[in-house]
Amino acid sequence: MQKEIKKTWYFPQSPEEVWEYLTNPELIELWLAKTDFKPIAGNRFQFTNSCDGGDRKPHFTFCKVLEIVPCKLLSYSWQKGVSEDAITLDSVVTWTLTGKDGGTQLHLQHNGFYLLEDVMAHTNGWNGCLNKIIALINTASHATSNA
């Protein structure tokens, strides 16, 4: 099961220019979502309607700047839920910028789906268990039908 997302993208623009689009709220809104982002570690911010999952409810993503190295690295928590007190998706988005061939290699990593990992860690190998259970049920049903 896939547990994280990794993407590498090349832009002919300089890291400084790409960085602007990752950190300037007005520019972020052009391609990602409306936000009150500030490039300060520890700063809490939100994306609004950044993720429309089919229903028409407004969606919020609650974030916090975890690490910021100008023009090189930006990492923020990415939490979703109906409110900040009811988070159902807890994950981390990390952007890494590297100068390459006069442009920028932008790497995105979206991982740390904590609740998901918790479930998967504890239920891994459940397919094997499932076979055991099916056998058990069959035996039990057989016993019942004989009763």
């Binding site: 896939q2 997302i5 832009f11 009811a86 159902t88 979206h110 998901l116 479930v119 459940w126």
Partner: protein, 107 residues
Amino acid sequence: MQHQTLDAFQVIADPSRRYMLQLLSKDSMTINALAENFDMSRPAVSKHIKILYNGGFISIKDIGRERYCTLKQEGFDELQDFINYFDKFWTGKLKKLEAILNNKSKK
């Protein structure tokens, strides 16, 4: 019954429900046996089981006088769908960023 429309992540957001899945990953269990592991009322346990059932994480089968809960693939598939959704989400956003940057260079 309320809470019938929780998405897969909302289903697993609750620690008690994650623990139930953990217990069920070892073996199928009766609702009574599951309830013994929790310091909560029987109706509260039933509510969580109902949510897991509605989310497609477990199936419930009556065997004799007991109700057996067993893990089911469907709910887990939905979690995978969610990751796939974000995968597409970011590809779409990056394409948009690329288009904006390219347009800007041309001007």
